[in-house]
Symmetry: C2
Amino acid sequence: MTEPVFRRLCLVGAGLIGGSIARRARERGDLAGEVVVTARSAATLSRVRELGFADRVVEDAAEAVRGADGVILCVPVGAYAAVMRRIAPALEPGAVLSDVGSTKGSVVRDLAPLLPPGVHLVPAHPMAGTEHSGPDSGFATLFEGRYCILTPQPEGDAAAAEKVAEFWRRCGSLVETMDVATHDKVVAIVSHLPHLIAFVICGTADDLAEETRESVLKFAASGFRDFTRIAASDVAMWRDVFLNNREAVLEMLARFTEDAQAFGRAIRWGQEEFIVDRIERGRKIRRGLIERKQA
Amino acid sequence: MTEPVFRRLCLVGAGLIGGSIARRARERGDLAGEVVVTARSAATLSRVRELGFADRVVEDAAEAVRGADGVILCVPVGAYAAVMRRIAPALEPGAVLSDVGSTKGSVVRDLAPLLPPGVHLVPAHPMAGTEHSGPDSGFATLFEGRYCILTPQPEGDAAAAEKVAEFWRRCGSLVETMDVATHDKVVAIVSHLPHLIAFVICGTADDLAEETRESVLKFAASGFRDFTRIAASDVAMWRDVFLNNREAVLEMLARFTEDAQAFGRAIRWGQEEFIVDRIERGRKIRRGLIERKQA
């Protein structure tokens, strides 16, 4: 039997992602010898106990990470600094500290300064999720066939990075490595901006005069329906994503807004060629995605 | 056996929508006694003959509509004026002229002035579609359970409107009636603006520096993938939609842009409450859609 990646793994947070990791570890023997779960709310702790996907449930975060050779933060990225202040003194020398956040610049900013000597930080971002959240929403196959991006620090420990990579491969993920700045730009356009747009357009529709709004709900065609599916995502997670990938999100929003205004101007002035060119680019990108079997 | 709605139905255009209507009529006996199809391109005409879903395929549009008591325009809305100039002299007194376009103000603008006396105009918009186009893409169940919006003219013939309503009910659609201006506003926000955004964001991604762009294609998460699915739609159809629902699309784009800028400003200044409020409104609209079983 293959040796587990971590002797004792502590998951800080047990929502969709943390709960899915725990279930995966429970299903296979090669991720962690023991899974310890800690969470902030009493409701979550009690639900995790009921669901039974952790070997131990520990209320105090510092107590939970003690003795763990692997710690993965699975809370909204806005909570990292506070969590780190609590757990840093209890982290074991030699332990690997990782996370699952959708922003990586903020993670390095919030975790690196408090990192005890001998503890290795390997930020990770599994690109998987659903519109559901909470401890009940996780499942063992969530990460299968999905990318997981690691942003190890250039001066970091190579063995620790390889441990985290192997962990995610065993979760079924396709592991890629990227620098922090590139990661934050890429996710800003492929994920954060689309979510921002989805949240905004729902609000725009909600602000319409009563009669039109009722019809909007009634006739929401596929276009709008896809947007609202995105918009159903977890509130705290997305609040923190926007606040913690601020520069990249604002850059992509600015670029998108310029392009949307140019498209609007083309509509106003009847510039057929411009409009056709933009529609055809959309189709081209779509074909690119299909060729990459991501569609 | 139920009497067919139309003795002889002429479909002008045989793409996704026209081809689906013809297949539905072929499958059931109660839509049309005879289905005549005409189309502009020789390739489409020849393909329709091969597929065999029409009783007759006629090259000349005026010849095709002659003797028909029902005519449905199934071409991009930008082609309506030219088609109408060709067919108007051949339309039979008493015939019902309808269409399937996504804009309705432009349809009345382009068709009503050329309408011969005794021909009844009943604009219709079946809210159904896929990302595919052309005569091969249609199927008989496309309209089942989907809304079809009629925008009959206030001074129009009630019996003609009822004929078109019954036609769509027999196609499986939920028929609703609306005035032209409300229709154009509602579809601008539920369909046209989401498509505009999808086309634009693909272009924004395509304009990124080469390295980031490659990663964008590789890591396109679900958010961006949903957008590109929308963006795969037919070019000529969407060009004509934007150009022919200009005022409503520009109004909705302006409202959306203001709201997106406000969201961006909240990110820049770290206004958590504003961001949370907007995310929660998205979830609320989503719940509204689920309650209406449109999700």
